[in-house]
Amino acid sequence: MSSLPYASFIGAFEFIFSPQESNVTGGKKVGGFDKSVELLIKHLEVTLIALAIALVVALPLGLWLGHRGKGEQFAVGVSNAARAIPELAVIALVAVLIGVGLGNVAPVLAILGIPPILNNAYVGVQQVDRATVDAARGMGMSEMAIVRKVELPIAIPTVMGGIRSAAIAILATATIAPLAGVETLGDFIINRNVYGENGLLAGAILVALLALTIEGSLALLQRRLTSDGLKLKTV
């Protein structure tokens, strides 16, 4: 099926920790701990920048639409339609039509993170008991204060769920960002003719570990942000 020699997990771990002689670059040493850390940090950086842009755009919009109970078609529809967009096509088109580099790729990755954040912020706020909101309004809270102090805290589990989905979607797509000139961990995977089969597997291992770490950290953050009263209810 393929002439590529199969990689081994042992080989991949050796590749992560110390530079290996690649069988494809004529004995030149590739990979190693420093390179792995460099790409890992770059991958994290790209992901966080894109996530930050997505948050700034989608979170206030989703919260406000949910508060007003308007634009459900927009918030939920955008989220459903966006799932059908193939990431590979997006990254490839960005590279050809807009240009390569972090400045071009990060905003496009952010667009992938907007739908889940928008959708969950809308749904989370919209599901807050209307009686609770009326009580807050009756106590003289401004609309802004209602969103910030009543609706958002109650909606935190749903809102954070959207942010977690967005983070993972961005991180996953950042893996193919090397196609648009941004060197992430995906470089080990995309440029297999430089790093060899062990590098390929090493890239996959590092991307998977990074995704699980981010997901775990955001899950912890969600627990910290959720008020104790809400936690009691779910038990």
């Binding site: 393929s2 590529l4 990689a7 459903n80 059908a84 193939p86 990431e87 096509a89 050809v96 597997l201």
Partner: protein, 244 residues
């Protein structure tokens, strides 16, 4: 691994970058957004990748659905299994599919089998979670009424709980199907063919092919989504009555 179908996918994976007869017009502007001339002459080349795409997507969803549905029924009966199964399928869902493809490489190699395993594993979480949610949302009073009418536990599950859970189950299935169709484009990276072949390799710098292949992916997702919505309408006639 050695079935004719998989070998065919492997062959395609090995040498799918056919010569592109780019018209003079397109050659003059390599970064031309969309070249109609080329599109008209070459639309037929998207047939095989589309069929390959379906050959990846359909088995993935069927396997994922059967597995997730079975796990959900098990976890519905044995309640304490729900948190660990949610966590386990959650981990599979979190690992980016590109990474997952290559993590399986030492075990299952290149080709369609690996793509199907990864995409099926990816759908587990969505379908499992929604099926459990749907079953848990069935009002206790309805189940009590069924029991009072003499239904056995098995009858309650198949004739009361599952029909009432159809909207949630289909909602999960729709998300799973649409995402799977989009993600299957990445199968090109492990030589499993599919519409990704028209977006990668020598096509990476050719927007026309990428746009056509991308449009086919989106249309395919839309078509599957509509079919599932129709199935939901047909299988839950009481919802239409109550909404009217």
């Amino acid at each position: 691994m050695s079935s004719p179908l998989v070998l065919a996918a492997g062959e395609v994976g090995g040498d799918f970058f056919r010569e592109r007869n780019v018209g003079d017009l397109c050659q003059a502007q390599p970064n031309h957004l969309f070249c109609w001339e080329w599109a008209k002459d070459n639309i037929d080349r998207f047939g095989t990748p589309t069929i390959q795409h379906l050959q990846i997507v359909i088995p993935s969803i069927l396997i994922g659905f059967v597995a997730a549905f079975a796990l959900a029924l098990l976890a519905h009966r044995i309640r304490w299994l729900q948190p660990p199964l949610l966590a386990a399928t959650g981990i599979l869902y979190t690992i980016p599919s590109i990474a997952f493809f290559f993590l399986l490489l030492p075990l299952t190699g290149l080709g369609r089998d690996t793509a199907i395993i990864v995409l099926a594993a990816y759908t587990l979480q969505i379908i499992f979670r929604n099926t459990i949610l749907g079953l848990n949302n069935v009002p206790a009073s309805v189940k009590d009424a069924a029991r009072g009418m003499g239904f056995t536990s098995r009858q309650i599950l198949w004739k009361v709980e599952l029909p009432l859970a159809i909207p949630e189950i289909v909602a999960g299935l729709r998300v799973a199907v649409v995402s799977t169709i989009a993600i299957a484009t990445l199968a090109v990276l492990i030589s499993a063919g599919g519409l990704g072949t028209e977006m990668y390799g020598s096509n990476l710098n050719f927007p026309t092919a990428i746009i056509i292949a991308g449009a086919i992916v989106i249309l395919m997702a839309f078509a599957f989504d509509s079919i599932l919505l129709l199935i939901q309408r047909l299988t839950t006639p009481w919802r239409r009555v109550s909404q009217a």
